[in-house]
């Protein structure tokens, strides 16, 4: 009985770790803090950073030791500023190295923790942006030619809104059942699909599907690029932002990650004897 209880507790804890956004952020922050410190240690000139930091401390102490000698104090301020610049220069290069893997990792985590899926029966907007070239090549009300093909679980709750000045069409939709669906948008005889996630669980979410825009796609989209020949430039869904509850306050995971990973980093740097 006790063994079964213990196993159940472990299973529950694993489930919590896998599904709780807070647990994920904490674990990821610890791991990233450790990785950052190790990578920083391997890619930085530790000796030079140590010297730069020590000199900064020395200039600070000089201000205190020679406080009645204003020329010394002012000179020390100048050295503090120069020393800070030198330190930042030394820290910048390893920072460049460590940013790449961290950014790629964060982008992937943001797919899960950045937004929540659309709640069941809650209205949401899908915005289709057409290329200006396509719009200008057609006659008035070109936007009328764009159609939406919905699965049975997704319903339209309001007529389409055309924003001609922006070459955009916005529909208000709602999902009646949890699941991952595809909404098809057709224009100029071409149809493209956009995923829609309805539900409450942790899920991989893509807020937008884009044509071209390599860098933006890398950071914002989790779907393949739209065909180059398509008149549609983007299809976006306004998923709600996810907030993690901390002491009654909703916090974006990025801020929580930023703080926790730094705390972890400061702890690990002491344990590993790495100069930051």
């Amino acid at each position: 009985m006790a063994i079964a209880g213990h196993a159940a507790a472990i299973a529950a804890f694993r489930f919590f770790l896998l599904t709780s956004p807070l647990a994920i952020v904490v674990v990821v922050s610890l791991v990233v803090g450790l990785l950052m410190v190790v990578l920083f240690g391997y890619t930085s000139d530790q000796k030079a950073i140590g010297v730069a930091k020590d000199e900064l401390k020395a200039y600070l102490l000089a201000v205190r030791l020679y406080r009645d000698q204003i020329p010394v104090v002012m000179g020390s301020y100048g050295k503090i500023l120069r020393g800070t610049g030198r330190y930042l220069k030394l820290a910048f290069k390893p920072l460049l190295y460590v940013i790449i893997p961290i950014i790629l990792l964060m982008v992937q985590i943001d797919r899960y923790l950045g937004q929540t899926p659309i709640p069941v029966n809650a209205p949401f907007l899908i915005t289709v942006h057409l290329s200006d070239q396509y719009v200008s090549s057609l006659t008035a009300d070109a936007l009328d030619s764009v159609t939406l093909d919905l699965p049975p679980e997704i319903t339209m709750t309001a007529p389409a809104l055309h924003i001609s000045a922006e070459s955009e069409i916005v529909w208000r939709l709602a999902g009646s059942k949890e699941g991952k669906y595809e909404v098809k948008v057709a224009a100029a005889g071409q149809s493209v699909a956009k995923s829609v996630c309805v539900g409450s669980d942790l899920a991989r979410i893509s807020t937008v599907r884009l044509r071209g825009h390599f860098w933006e796609r890398m950071f914002s989209s989790a779907e393949p690029a739209l065909p180059e020949t398509s008149p549609i430039e983007s299809v976006a869904i306004n998923y709600p932002d996810r907030n993690i509850e901390i002491a009654g306050y909703g916090v974006n995971w990025i801020w929580l990650f930023f703080i926790l990973s730094m705390v972890a980093g400061f702890i690990f740097k002491e344990l590993l004897g790495i100069q930051i």
């Binding site: 990233v32 950052m36 920083f40 240690g41 391997y42 890619t43 000139d45 530790q46 000796k47 010297v51 930091k53 020590d54 000199e55 401390k57 020395a58 200039y59 600070l60 102490l61 000089a62 201000v63 205190r64 030791l65 020679y66 406080r67 009645d68 000698q69 204003i70 020329p71 010394v72 104090v73 301020y77 503090i80 500023l81 800070t84 330190y87 930042l88 820290a91 910048f92 390893p94 920072l95 460049l96 190295y97 460590v98 940013i99 790449i100 961290i102 950014i103 964060m106 860098w215 933006e216 890398m218 950071f219 914002s220 990025i254 990650f257 930023f258 990973s261 730094m262 004897g273 930051i276």
Partner: protein
């Protein structure tokens, strides 16, 4: 410290940088994703700037108030000063005869400039001419009877054992026993034994700032207006005046006579393991439980270098090379850690492995005992220049005496310390544009002690080296000091007084005299029945039949009834006994050479005045040139022979008749002074800054020939 770089990224640096910059600057989100790395950098820099900003606001806001307060309290501190600044360079042991000789040989152009423009003179020293005595007189302006320092050692009249004359260090009084631990409560008690007030305290009271670096007998540091780094007499982490360590695979049961320990190296599977002995554990119930720091040596193929691992520090050394200062943390448990630093010197890798480790110095960046005023000054210097030697006698003369270090290794160590000291001096010069800046260099003393043998044709300690092959070590030393003076002269103007002084001169130390042996053979000191010699510290002396004894370098003590625990000399006999010993010892001839071994014996009452004369020796023995108290005699040992050759590397000395070893006085401005003495420096400086001289001063200020302000 290791310096590691990212390798094998498989992408050209230019491409990588372009990609990275693109990643950072294109999408705004990426900046947020920079995460902890950027956070670390920004926070650390921000911290520095923020603290600096707070300091600046504080300093600027309070500066006028502080200046007003100072003005009201002291009026204009420099109003009556003849100079804006005084710079005193103390070259311990610089000898006037050698300086004169080398100047005449054209070796010392900067000292020649000082001589021609200002002053060059002999500087009378103290009785006896020993550094702690002379520098105490330098700083206090009084004779030893008023500052209480007569030698490195003083004797305990209750047991005839020695103790360090300058400072007393005691652990916390209270301990609480918990299990196997005895936890100390309270602070370590450090009591300075030197009395009198250093002249920079008088300057500070008048609002004149001082930077004082490594002046002997300034441990423990005292509070005053200025900064001070303690010098000679600062102990090592073990509490001794310097205990080196020879780690070796050679089996030997020999013990070093003084100053060092031998530690075995265990060799297994190509890895050598040993340890650095540290201080006693403050938590151990049993006294003498030594703390240790283990280390590993991994010889490289070819056996010309090895990799070391000491705690988290890893470094490589070639044979014949010193490491940087390496942190050594001695952990006692319960969070008690003693912080030290030491340097490793790889002596040999084949056939045996030998490593010399310097005495473990107090870590200046993390001082467990106060070694500076304020405490942050030693930290400031460590942060600015890196770790440095803090031990009072930092140059390991014992290791050279014991052949653990050779000449080159000793000189490398000594000049390494000297370069650190130079950096400190120039920083102090930059920071002290007004006031006093004084720095004492010990290198002159240590190098002359250890290499005088090469200055003479027939020194017993260098008879195995033909005179033509004697290296010009002392000539090089004086030239190096001269170059230092030149660089200092470039930093000062006519409104700065530069003094170059030494506490004593130097002479050969070719013959040793065991004064205890003489006392024994002349019936003043009696050994226990059946003994013909005595061990260290009078082990076999029969005090009930002993009237006089000596310990330390120049002091001779009577075994006076009521003063010494087993004293037998009645008060009524004291004067007669002093006169008798003076008469017999004065002019004592070394039968082997026919040379006078003792040129003067001075009765303490005639040379000392002041409240602490009761602690002085009864007689001061002035050895002749070429002579000094034997190593055994210093340690209270009685030998069969009175005179013998000195064959140790320690071949020059100054602990002799003070009239034979005056110091030097060079100055940038001409002084009119008849027979200037080291005791005159303090009153001279106070007078030049326009201060009244304290009535108790023994020194007399020198008059400046002419100086327009």
């Amino acid at each position: 410290m290791k310096r590691l770089r990212l390798v094998g990224t498989g992408r050209s640096p230019v491409t990588t940088r372009v990609l990275l910059i693109a990643l950072i600057f294109l999408p705004a989100l990426a900046l947020a994703y920079a995460g902890p790395g950027a956070g670390f950098a920004v926070l650390s820099s921000f911290w520095a700037i923020f603290v600096a900003f707070l300091y600046s606001v504080y300093a600027l806001m309070t500066w006028p108030i502080r200046q007003l307060f100072r003005f009201m309290r002291r009026r204009n501190a420099y109003g009556k000063a003849t100079f804006e600044r005084a710079v005193i360079l103390g070259f311990d042991g610089m000898d006037p005869e050698l300086a004169d000789r080398f100047m005449n040989e054209g070796r010392l152009p900067n000292l020649v400039k000082l001589r021609d423009k200002g002053t060059f003179s002999k500087l009378r020293t103290t009785f006896p001419p020993i550094s702690p005595v002379a520098w105490s007189t330098f700083m206090t302006g009084v004779n030893p009877g008023k500052h209480n320092i007569y030698d490195f050692l003083a004797r305990d009249t209750s047991n005839y054992l020695p103790f360090l004359s300058s400072a007393e260090i005691k652990g916390p009084k209270r301990h609480i026993k918990i299990g196997k631990y005895s936890i100390p409560f309270g602070k370590t008690q450090i009591k300075g034994m030197r009395k009198g007030t250093p002249f920079w305290h008088w300057l500070g009271n008048a609002g004149i700032f001082s930077s004082v670096i490594r002046v002997p007998v300034t441990f423990p540091p005292e509070k005053f207006q200025g900064v001070l780094l303690s010098g000679m007499c600062v102990p090592d982490l073990k509490g001794s005046q310097g205990t080196f360590c020879l780690c070796t695979t050679r089996a030997s049961s020999d013990k070093f006579r003084e100053g060092g320990v031998r530690v075995p190296i265990e060799r297994k599977n190509g890895v050598c393991r040993s340890y650095i002995p540290g201080p006693d554990s403050p938590l151990a119930e049993k006294a003498g439980t030594e703390l240790r720091v283990n280390f590993e040596i991994r010889p490289e193929p070819g056996l010309k270098s090895a990799r070391f691992a000491v705690g988290s520090e890893k470094f490589a050394l070639k044979v014949g090379e010193y490491s940087e200062w390496i942190p050594a943390e001695f952990k006692a448990g319960l969070g008690f850690t003693a912080h030290g630093i030491c340097r490793f010197y790889l002596k040999e890798l084949s056939p045996e492995v030998e490593v010399y480790v310097t005495p473990v110095n107090i870590d200046p960046g993390h001082p467990d005992l106060p070694i500076s005023h304020p405490v942050t000054y030693s930290i400031y210097l460590a942060k600015l220049f890196g770790a440095y030697a803090t031990l009072g006698l930092a140059e390991d003369t014992w290791a050279l005496n014991e052949h653990v270090l050779d000449d080159d290794a000793f000189l490398a160590q000594a000049y390494g310390n000297h370069e650190d000291r130079e950096r400190m001096l120039f920083d102090a010069l930059e920071k002290t544009k007004q006031g006093l800046c004084t720095c004492v260099f010990d290198t002159t003393d240590r190098v002359q002690h250890m290499f005088w043998r090469y200055l003479e044709e027939d020194h017993p300690a260098a008879r195995d080296v033909p005179h033509s092959q004697h290296p010009p070590v002392i000539q090089d030393l004086y030239e190096r000091m001269d170059r230092l003076i030149g660089r200092v002269m470039e930093k000062i103007d006519d409104d700065t007084l530069l003094l170059v002084i030494s506490d004593h001169g130097f002479k050969s130390f070719a013959r040793c005299m065991n004064l205890n042996a003489w006392l024994h053979q002349n019936g003043y000191l009696t050994l226990k029945d059946g003994k013909t010699e005595s061990g260290d510290w009078f082990e076999d002396v029969d005090w009930s039949r002993t009237r006089a004894y000596t310990m330390g370098l120049n002091g001779l003590y009577l075994n006076i009834k009521g003063r010494e625990k087993q004293g037998i000399v009645d008060a009524a006999e004291v004067e007669a006994l002093k006169a008798e010993l003076q008469q017999k010892l004065n002019g004592l001839v070394d039968p082997a050479s026919g040379t006078v071994g003792i040129t003067g014996v001075f009765i303490a009452d005639n040379v000392y005045r002041g409240p602490y004369t009761e602690n002085s020796p009864d007689l001061i023995v002035g050895y002749g040139a070429g002579y000094r108290a034997s190593w055994d005699s210093v340690m209270g040992k009685v030998t069969a022979r009175i005179f013998e050759d000195n064959i140790k590397a320690w071949s020059g000395d100054h602990c002799i008749d003070p009239r034979l070893v005056p110091g030097v006085l060079f100055s940038s401005h001409k002084f009119i002074a008849e027979k200037p003495a080291i005791v005159d420096v303090a009153p001279t400086i106070l007078k030049l800054f326009g201060l009244a001289l304290p009535a108790h001063f023994d020194g007399k200020p020198w008059n400046l020939a002419a100086k327009a302000r």
